[in-house]
Symmetry: C2
Subunit: 252 residues, 2 copies
DNA sequence: AATTAAATTTCGCCT
DNA sequence: AGGCGAAGTTTAATT
């Protein structure tokens, strides 16, 4: 781990070499120009930027504004760095995709070779309750003509997420999963459907609603005569958001 | 400009406040967790990351690998930063898009408040010669049935980029521009077309081929009975790349 | 590996 | 400011 502020180019390149050789993360801040050639071509004239080279060989050049990097390379690059007259030159070559980028630093504010450990897990999700509220607010999200019933009172099986009637007045039992549904979700749904079938002379359909489903679970689901409905998390959140806005508007 | 390595959380938050108040660029490296709620929701458990907050209120959280940020906010956020027990909490709120993100740092390796100036211009382009070679290699790119002629010998007007025959055997004069075409490009093309018309009894069409065209130029173009063909720079580069690969293959 | 579809797509151009 | 379409899109899922 080496961090130097306002280093000379010579000091800087030593840190750069360390980072590249040891596959650590490099941050370089300073005045630079960038050239790119590959699927397209680009040039970027002199200015202050933040360069990040990651362990996997991904490269980002960021300007002081804007979400997107002005120049980048995807992971898998190989690098050459050297001192050239009064500039530090870094080449990033993506041989596989035939993409080539070079950066010339003429002045460096900060160079850092970082040993970052990141075992953390990233989870993108909506809660089951989010999905439930979204479907109740916008039942067509589940199926055209779907009408939820008695969501307030918990019926005896106790843990049915949503039940309702389809456009043909068949009973529909919905099991929700906030992430990829597995076999346990299918058996759970099957149990509820069977319970209800015993007590009703209606046709009873079972729908497993989730962002995705494992292959095994889907095979089991079909063999049991049940159905899968893919839920779009983003659409759920959008729907909820609109509902909330509507609620606010109704109060104005 | 303040840069501190392994600061205490107290030292760090002072730099964070400086950066946010003075609308400078903030870089924070350390152990953190992230939560996001907006169009979707996400959580990210503890790990080493690089946080960048830009002048325009854009936020990036980068892990040690991967091109894309694991969490982000678009420009226009407002921020709240405070010390909370033994964590530094930063909230980034995008009121306009109703996106909310919070980051909790428990350990900081590096904090930097940077005054970056970037007047540089970014230009994405293909050279005129690139475009020419691409069209000659793949004439349908210009128009279905287009056949280039005599590109080797420079004809008298001298500076015609490409000429050829369309599927109806009409003469076609092509003027290339590597970036947005303006009125001068149109008058240039008009001149060549008129020159050729005087010497030929064929129908002579004039096509201005460029990535885009100014409104004024397009109006003038139409009034002169000329045509515009939008050129996709990426498609040109892809075409060239394939041609080069083919050439190599032919030698094997 | 190649192709397709979705993305917290982002980004620019036009209305 | 909102809507549409392209992007050095990226990324995940599927064939």
């Amino acid at each position: 781990m080496r961090i130097i502020t306002t280093p000379t180019l010579k000091e800087a390149i030593s840190v750069v070499h360390d980072a590249l050789n040891q596959k650590k993360v490099l941050i370089l801040v300073g005045k630079c120009t960038v050239q790119y050639k590959g699927r397209a071509r680009s040039t970027l004239s002199l200015g202050d930027r933040i360069l990040i080279i990651k362990r996997d060989g991904a490269v980002l050049v960021h300007r002081p504004t804007g979400y997107a990097p002005v120049n980048y390379q995807r992971s898998g690059c190989i690098f050459y760095a050297k001192l050239e007259e009064d500039r530090l030159k870094i080449e990033a070559i993506d041989q596989k995709h035939k993409e080539y980028m070079k950066i010339f630093f003429s002045e460096i504010t900060l160079v850092a070779c970082l040993d970052l450990r990141d075992p953390g897990e990233f989870a993108l999700y909506a809660t089951e309750e989010d999905i439930r509220r979204a479907i109740l607010a916008n039942p067509e999200m589940l199926e055209e003509g779907f009408k939820p019933i008695s969501i307030e009172k918990e019926v005896e099986p106790g843990f049915i997420d949503i039940c309702g009637l389809d456009k043909n007045d068949n009973l529909v039992i919905v099991e929700l999963k906030r992430k990829k549904a597995d076999k346990t979700a299918v058996t759970q749904l099957a149990k509820y459907v069977n319970d209800i079938k015993k007590r009703s002379r209606r046709v009873v359909r079972g729908i497993l609603a989730a962002p995705s489903i494992t292959k095994d679970a889907h095979i089991l689901l079909i063999s049991l005569g049940l159905e899968f409905k893919k839920i779009n998390i983003k659409a759920c959140m959008e729907s909820l958001r609109k509902t909330e806005e509507r609620k606010i508007t109704e109060y104005l």
